[in-house]
Structure formats: structure tokens, C-alpha cells
Amino acid sequence: MSGKQHWRIAAATAAGASHLRDDTPNQDAVAHRLVGVRHGQVVVAAVADGAGSASRSDEGSGIAVATAVDTVVRGIERKPAAAMREHLATSLVRDAVKRAKNEVIRHARRQSVEPRELASTLIVAIASDRLLTAAQVGDGAVVAFNLGDGTAKTLCAAHTGEYANETTFITSRTRPHRIASVGHAAGSDFDAVALITDGLQNLALQMPEREAFMGFWNPMLNDLAHSEEPDAVAGRLHAFISGERVQSRTSDDVTIAIATRYSPNSKEDEQ
């Protein structure tokens, strides 16, 4: 790839059927940012799934994604190579997990609640034209795509227990950044990335291998890749995940963030 590479990103989150029924809030959270660098843009995104049993896990997941994205953005602004080189990117996403956990615990102390009441999973991803890197604690998934040939790669392992309602949270480990699963994909092979929480896992991945089920991804990736208005795509994503087709198949909160790369100067493959 030559020339500057830019990204479009769109995300949405919606409460699941069981939370709508119990009138509990959406405990998932999502945050993302585009960072300008000399050779184009880097996309930073995070999703988190607050534990159902934790009374204030919506706050926990919100703080986790905001802190993780801030940490990565500041890291890249300080040292753009952190979005290019595997070892630097690994350190940065692990640092993001650590700071996210610390910030959640600080918030719990300020509010005089137990940290476990803010329990949350966390996935944080960096994507540049050279490298895609992600760290994951808990369940959910982060997937890299090649829009040209339709190949995909699930970047990180998930933490699951024997039972379907068990996972690992950033607050349930002393050093979540150590146990985080970190994965990479080469920017030359992949030009899109997606993050989802557990609620979409069974619809978007073929289990138990956790490989991307492309029938799920293609419509929204194509939409974003050809859209001039990522915000409108975000609206469509929200309509999709809060709509009957998805909601009748999952009871959990649902969150998705997708990002596609493009060359702003070459418009021939648009439309």
C-alpha cells in the first residue's frame, strides 16, 4: 500500500432482551477514536461487557473502555511506532488493560463500593496500515478482515469457564494485563477490524473454533467500506442489533464496533 491510509469506524451498543425485561441498564460499553499520524490514521477501539451480577457494572464497563482508549491514544501520540511494531503495540494494549482496571478500582473506592460491583470484561484494539493488535480479558471477540478476499482472523483467545455463564473480568485478577490474550495481524493482509461483546458471539462466530462467520459480517463491512457517513452506518448498526432478528437470538447486551481502511486519494473502488 502506498499513500495515506484512513479509517472509517462505526459502533453501536444495545441492551439485551433479559435486561430490557428486568429494566436493568445496558451493561456493555464501547469507545473509539481516530488518531492522525504522519502517514495517515490509526484507529483505536474498545468494547466491554459489565458483569450481570455486578450492581454498577455499567459504570465499570464505561470507565474501562474510556480509560483503555485514552491510554492507547496518548501512547500513539507520544510514540507513533506503537501502532506499527508488534512489541510496542503489545506493551501499549497491556498497559491499557492495566490502567483500565486501576481506574475502575479508583472509581469503586471513591464511590465506596466493592470493585467486583464494577466487574467488566475488556477488549482493546489498535489498527494502522501496518499492524492490527488487540488485547482481550474475558469473552467477546476481535476479528481482523481482508475485505478483498473475504478472509478473517480472530486475534485473541477468550477466557471462559466450564459453564456458559462464567468468564474473567479485569477486576477479578490482580494483574489482568498479564493474563490478557494479545494477538496481531499484518496490515498488509487485513484492512478491517471488528470488536464484539459476548452477546453477538454465537451469531457472528462459528463455535467452538471462534472463526468469523462471514455471512454475518459481509453486509455491515460492505456498508461501512462504501459509506461516506460512518455515523449513518452506526445508526444502522444500532437498528440491526436492537432489532427483532438479533434480539430474538440472544438475551445478553450486544455491542459491535467495526472499522474499515481506505485510501482517501483513490476513489475508484468506492461506490
Binding site: 458483569a51 456458559a164 455463564n165
Partner: protein, 231 residues
């Protein structure tokens, strides 16, 4: 398609065909002679309602895997694990004596076999639920067998493999002898004293199935309040 429409957005998106996570439930029901008449009739009627409540919610129905064991001095699987969507309540009739340990051992055995089949099939699963009902003392058990069954149940509960609920059914005039049930039960056995409570306890089980099978990662399962004791 208009991109402004919220209806039909990404309606070409397909969904991966993954099996639903499963929650296995075993009803272990006393059919000894003394259960005859109103008690067994109430159990049979309550199982019909149990099936209806399970099927009310599509996700619960798909995730529930229900088996029924009846026991007198022996124990038999009268309904092997069946998905909630296909659950047809068996009709039980009462006869014979009472033995608990056979029933407990059979229940633990079929639950473990079922979990192994989930693992073999790559199917995620929840903790199992068991509902054990008796109206009287297990005169066919010896103390050693009963104690070993109790130990196995405690181990299964401690391992979080199963949530095992024991109920005794009697009447105000003729209270049930709870002593063997209390020894067996890994969590406090519950004494039911009338048919409304018996019916209510089985409906409570169906709502518990919904609670477990919709529980999210990390969630401490909140079982419904035992409101059936209010009757």
C-alpha cells in the same frame, strides 16, 4: 432498500448456526404408594404447567434440557433429556416403597453423561438444576448408602456442577418425616404442607430454569423468591 429505514437493516446478514448453551434439569419424583391420589395428580398437573412456562420464552425453551426420574424402591428414567421445545410431561402413577440413594445416584449419573455429550459436541452449558420430591421416609435405604449419596451431592454442589433442591410433601395432619431428606440435602430441604405449595414449587423450578438459562457471564444466578410457601 432505503438506508434510513430501521426495519430491514442488514436483513441479508446471516447468523452462524451454533447450538444454544444448555441447562440440564432433572425432576426426581417420588412415586411410592403413599404418593397416590391427590399428590401424584398434583405433580402430573404441575409438570404440564412446567412445560408451558418453559416454552413461554423461546430462549429458555431452546436452552432447557429436561429429564424426569421416578423412584419408589427403585429408580427409573421415565423421560430422558429432552429439549424444552419438545418437552411432553410424562404421567406418573404411584406404587411401591421408597429408596433415595438409587434415585440420587441415577440422577447424578445421567447429568454427568449429559455434560459429557455437551463437551463432546462443543456445546456450552450452565450449571444443572435438580428438583427432588418425596413424601416420606426411605425405608429401603440403609444409612451407609444414604450417607454416600449425600456426600456425592455435597461434592457436586461444592463443585458448582449442580444446584440440588430437596422438597418434602406432607399435610398439616400428617407432616412429612424430613429427617432423611435433611440428611441428604446439600442445601436446606424445604417442607411443603399442601397441594398449592407442591404445585407452586414446580412452577418455581420452571422460573428458575429461565433464570439460569438466561444468566450472563459472571452473574450470580438470582433464583426466583420461593413464593410458593405463602400458600
Amino acid at each position: 432498500m432505503s438506508m434510513q429505514d430501521s426495519v430491514g437493516v442488514y436483513d441479508t446478514a446471516e447468523f452462524a448456526d451454533n447450538p444454544e448453551a444448555r441447562c440440564s434439569i432433572v425432576l426426581i419424583l417420588d412415586v411410592s404408594g403413599s404418593m397416590g391420589g391427590l399428590k401424584i395428580h398434583t405433580v402430573n398437573q404441575a409438570m404440564v404447567k412446567f412445560g408451558e412456562i418453559i416454552k413461554e420464552d423461546s430462549v429458555t425453551a431452546l436452552r432447557a434440557d429436561v429429564a424426569v426420574i421416578e423412584f419408589d424402591h427403585e429408580a427409573r428414567v421415565v423421560l430422558d433429556f429432552t429439549n424444552g421445545t419438545d418437552f411432553e410431561p410424562p404421567v406418573l402413577s404411584a406404587k411401591g416403597g421408597t429408596n433415595y440413594s438409587n434415585a440420587v445416584n441415577l440422577a447424578l449419573e445421567i447429568i454427568e453423561t449429559r455434560k459429557q455429550s455437551y463437551r463432546d459436541g462443543g456445546i456450552a452449558y450452565y450449571r444443572s438444576l435438580a428438583y427432588f420430591l418425596s413424601d416420606g421416609y426411605p425405608e429401603h435405604d440403609n444409612d451407609g448408602e444414604l450417607a454416600r449419596a449425600a456426600d456425592r451431592l455435597k461434592a457436586a454442589e461444592d463443585d458448582r456442577g449442580i444446584a440440588f433442591f430437596c422438597f418434602g410433601i406432607g399435610s398439616p395432619d400428617l407432616p412429612v418425616d424430613m429427617s432423611a431428606l435433611n440428611n441428604l440435602a446439600p442445601r436446606a430441604a424445604i417442607e411443603l404442607t399442601n397441594m398449592e405449595q407442591l404445585d407452586g414449587s414446580i412452577q418455581w423450578l420452571s422460573r428458575s430454569v429461565a433464570a439460569v438459562s438466561q444468566s450472563q457471564p459472571g452473574e450470580a444466578i438470582r433464583l426466583p423468591e420461593p413464593d410458593y410457601l405463602d400458600f
